[in-house]
Symmetry: C2
Subunit: 234 residues, 2 copies
Amino acid sequence: MLNNTNFIGDVFEFVASPSNPIGDLVSPVLVGPNVKIISDRVYYWPQYTAIPVPANDDLMIFSFSKLTGHAGSRLGWAIVKDINVYNRMVQYINRADVEMSKDTLLRALTILKVVEEGDGKKFFNFARKVLRYRWEKLSHIFSFSKRFSLQNLSTRYCSYLGGDREPSPVFAWVHCKREADKNCSEVFAEAKIISRPGSRFFAENDHVRLNLATRQDDFDMLVPRLKQLISQEV
Amino acid sequence: MLNNTNFIGDVFEFVASPSNPIGDLVSPVLVGPNVKIISDRVYYWPQYTAIPVPANDDLMIFSFSKLTGHAGSRLGWAIVKDINVYNRMVQYINRADVEMSKDTLLRALTILKVVEEGDGKKFFNFARKVLRYRWEKLSHIFSFSKRFSLQNLSTRYCSYLGGDREPSPVFAWVHCKREADKNCSEVFAEAKIISRPGSRFFAENDHVRLNLATRQDDFDMLVPRLKQLISQEV
């Protein structure tokens, strides 16, 4: 664990909350006058997590990619409280890109109008329902396994949609528990399931990440392959 | 004038041809094994200049902004002969942007199909005709002036559209010849004409740049104001 009292000079900590790949809500590790926190809030939307309180960090980054799935648009935004930091970010954008593509902005505005339709909760309720269904399905399948386990996520109160909300994460973080399954990604590849090895997330390769925010067709192919893999356990 | 024999280490020269703001075709100043040329070819299109030969430099940059006027799309491209330079450019783009906005690419492809319509020359002939008309108009107006002069541009053979092509530059580079008009941009501002001062182009402020690639309405307002300004000469 890092100890901030040992640092000299400025330190930046990137805090992804919900975290990737686990999906839990986390706080900064470092504190102190020399610590600057950059809060990666790309997954802090009601379809992925309960929203206990509105996000209110000093520097929060968001992406269209994670809000609606339009990753190809390459549109992001930030909420920045420090005017000096804001000005330097604007200056960087101005040097690097002049400005954002108007075509992208126009499409994003059109899509955001759909997100806002009704009481502004229709889109989030829809996306949450899909992800919640998938997580329940996966939890059920993995409950029969002794070889693999999923991450634990808690039910939390959501101040945006209201009520207690059971987990609906975007990723499954699977642990291959057998000594022989140290290369967990290979185990899944043999079962014709694409996964990202744990080493891509500063973890051991006895873990893999499965994406649950895929197209319905892909999820529908994942389910029988997972069942098949787990039914083979001896 | 720079003398390349004095340099130690690598030197980069940006060569804009046609030049901005004058619009003439220029060659690199520097030569030698340590010199890398980046050729800014954004205006090397038949609407702006005769094309004596196809552009064939080692590293050429282009922009959608100047090809069709869609500056807001922020789309550019490069032709790069050195595979190592290419790979580093790809790596930079990957780090900075992951990739280009798909929305922008889709719109650009749609517009490029219009550019290609017919024999591929319809768009260029149209745009050239507009700019040629504007340059003739301006040349005629300024021919009555002793106070101001325009840059000289030559008729050249165009291998793309065929035949000798008289100038059709995107900018007028106006010289205020009177000692009292050292702040040339102010003179034009008083005549309600927006210009860019010469200092923006490493020149003296007795020069200004006028944009001729404006909307028709703007050009139609420019003409009487210029005539008025020049008719006031005493």
